[in-house]
């Protein structure tokens, strides 16, 4: 019998190997091959792939709390968006005096609103290291405070889901307001540089894509470390029999707060990598619909497997890209139908299907 599950089990090694090979191949095919070549991967496709990878990391974050701890968060998009805003603020400050209004300090939207000085919470964002800390800290802090109150008042199940939904909705409404100082409904955009390098070059696009792949691998491994440890087994115990875990002596609330916070940090990192690739962040990212959609990715991929979440995020987003171009009016129906079908016929998602195949052979 296996006493401990190995962090680098076979599926994990296969996934990491595949991710490495694909990243290297895409890089070579984009930079090494001429544009006319059959095997050339366009920079547009590279950016699209990079975006999918950040979604995959976000899905892993959701699976960690939902699949292993049983917390169905319908507000994880909020942490993603906050990480994105922190990155966006840094990118805005990088524009400097090249904005439309040419103000050396103030971003365009502030000049437009007749603001005279930078609000205090924008200070420091001209330094990348400061922005990096905020990318990790802001989602973590929100998750910690929110989790502390929600979990210690023992809000669970559907009620918790509703509260998380309210959280992201409230943030969306707040960020829509111009007075908040985050660009209102236009959000933050017109980014030019990252670390002094032009964002729109092929090299930068590839770098962001590779950074997303590395973040996904790192986030996946971090989650593996947690779920393979005794703490991971405590999580599953809490998911299946919360009271029992409490009577054995585990402080259920603290476990939940810790894992929820780790998950929020991963979501924040995903958001921070997403923003420079798509070139904009606006309050729409806080929309409750986004958060629900990403839960659907995890459900389709198969929850409680981590790899399933990645598969689900990639499949659904590829489908979304394809269908919204080919048959835009069909997409939402297709997504809904997919969710219903998977719930009915593949309760353990695509990952469950793969596992069954493996067991059969």
């Amino acid at each position: 019998m296996q006493e401990r599950e190995r962090i680098f089990n076979r599926p994990s090694l296969q996934f990491l190997g595949l991710l490495g090979v694909v990243s290297a191949a895409v890089t070579a095919a984009n930079l090494g091959l001429p544009e006319g070549s059959m095997l050339h991967v366009s920079t547009y496709a590279v950016t699209l792939l990079g975006k999918y990878l950040t979604f995959a990391l976000l899905a892993v974050a959701v699976d960690l709390v939902w699949g292993y701890l049983g917390i169905l968060s319908l507000g994880h998009g909020a942490f993603f968006a906050l990480g994105g805003y922190a990155m966006g603020m840094y990118l805005m400050r990088q524009i400097g005096d090249r904005g439309v209004y040419g103000d050396p300090v103030l971003p365009d939207f502030m000049v437009f609103l007749n603001w005279k000085a930078l609000p205090w919470f924008w200070f420091g964002f001209d330094h990348f290291s400061y922005a990096l800390i905020m990318i990790l800290l802001i989602p973590a802090l929100l998750a910690f405070i929110f989790g502390w109150f929600a979990f210690s008042s023992r809000v669970t199940g559907v009620y918790l889901s509703i509260v998380t939904q309210a959280l992201t909705y409230a943030l969306m409404l707040a960020f829509f307001r111009n007075e908040m100082g985050f660009g209102g409904n236009n959000g933050l955009t017109d980014f030019k540089d990252l670390l002094g390098f032009n964002l729109h070059t092929d090299g930068m696009r590839i770098s962001l894509f590779l950074a997303s792949a590395a973040a996904l691998a790192g986030g996946y491994l971090l989650c593996r470390v947690i779920v393979c440890s005794k703490l991971g087994r405590v999580c599953v115990a809490i998911r299946d029999a919360e009271d029992r875990a409490r009577f054995i002596g585990y402080k259920v609330e603290r476990v939940k707060v810790f894992v929820f916070t780790v998950s929020a940090i991963l979501a924040g990192v995903a958001g921070a990598l997403y923003v420079p690739q798509v070139g904009i962040i606006n309050p729409g990212e806080f929309s409750p619909l986004n958060s629900i959609e990403l839960v659907v990715w995890v459900a389709i991929g198969g929850r409680g497997t981590l790899l399933g979440a990645i598969i689900g995020a990639l499949l659904v987003n590829y489908g979304k890209t394809y269908f919204t171009a080919a048959l835009p009016e069909v997409w939402l129906f297709a997504l809904g139908a997919l969710f219903v079908l998977v719930t009915m016929f593949l309760p353990r998602g695509v990952a469950g299907l793969l596992k069954r195949k493996e067991a059969a052979s």
Partner: protein
């Protein structure tokens, strides 16, 4: 099957039973009383579930608690383990630990283990991991993140596996165990906590006679090193294990003494034994 094969088999249960129970350093049981419940009352929506209850459990004793449905047996357990807070009264674990000011995990860590009426094990974990999770020791976030099993801990798990007769099933997912095996696993989990006081709620409900006999042996073997409180409906089972019985009725102690004394008590006969299975 061999009588007692499971509990007195090649492996000596004394090894586990003789191991010092893990008691909180604050647990002071001078005076030989491990649990005090004094003038405890609690009501739910005006219904008085526990009414001025006084109960003392001695160190190392095996006590059975009986009573008709609604007598307050489960509520009493809830109060001891911190799930329900009484409206009045006091509950002390030894001389120094005031249970009414402690949370459920703190009470568990202090040395009170509880076995629920329904077998409640972690169904998605193996038998081995169920015992590992229950093991006494640090249970906060970071120690569990780094936890590695030491040789001694592994030995301890092996001993409990032998004692509960689950050694061959150590790798089996707990969800696939039979009803009786789940009950034993749960008792094994309690042993891993090394409690000083064990509360066991209806251990033989739904068991076959054979399983019941084995459970009886297990429960009697557990008392001594630790105190055991058993709440049970099955009178045959109670008679087979009990030295001292407490009868609860309408949230208060109706009678206390040996099984024979209690059965002869006219009040008890009237409210419980008269109408029940005896």
């Amino acid at each position: 099957m061999n009588e007692g094969q499971y509990f007195h088999g090649p492996h000596d249960p004394g090894l586990v039973l003789g191991r010092k129970a893990q008691a909180s350093p604050n647990l002071d049981i001078k005076g030989d009383i491990i649990l005090y419940m004094e003038s405890v009352s609690v009501s739910f929506d005006g219904f008085l579930a526990i009414n001025n209850l006084n109960l003392y459990i001695e160190d190392g004793e095996l006590r059975c608690i009986i009573g008709p449905n609604g007598a307050g047996k489960s509520t009493m357990m809830d109060i001891i383990t911190g799930k329900t807070r009484p409206d009045s009264g006091s509950v002390w674990f030894g001389q120094k630990l005031n249970l009414l000011s402690m949370s459920e995990p703190d009470i568990a860590q202090a040395g009170i283990g509880r076995k629920f009426q329904k077998p409640s094990v972690f169904e998605n974990h193996t038998v081995f991991h169920n015992l590992d999770l229950a093991m006494a020791g640090p249970k906060s976030v970071f120690p569990t993140l780094r936890a590695r099993l030491s040789g001694e801990q592994r030995e301890q798990i092996d001993e409990v596996l032998e004692l509960t007769g689950l050694a061959d099933l150590r790798g089996r997912q707990a969800g696939y165990l039979s009803h009786g095996q789940k009950q034993w696993l749960e008792i094994g989990m309690l042993l891993m906590q090394r409690p000083k006081l064990l509360l066991i709620d209806e251990p033989v409900a739904g068991m076959t006679h054979q399983e019941m006999d084995r459970t009886g042996e297990l429960v009697t073997a557990l008392a001594g090193e630790r105190s055991v409180v058993v709440v049970e409906h099955d009178m045959d089972f109670v008679r087979s294990i009990a030295k001292k019985v407490t009868v609860l009725h309408q949230g208060a102690v109706l009678a206390e003494g040996s099984m024979d004394d209690v059965q002869r008590d006219p009040k008890v006969v009237e409210v419980y034994l008269g109408e029940a299975t005896c």
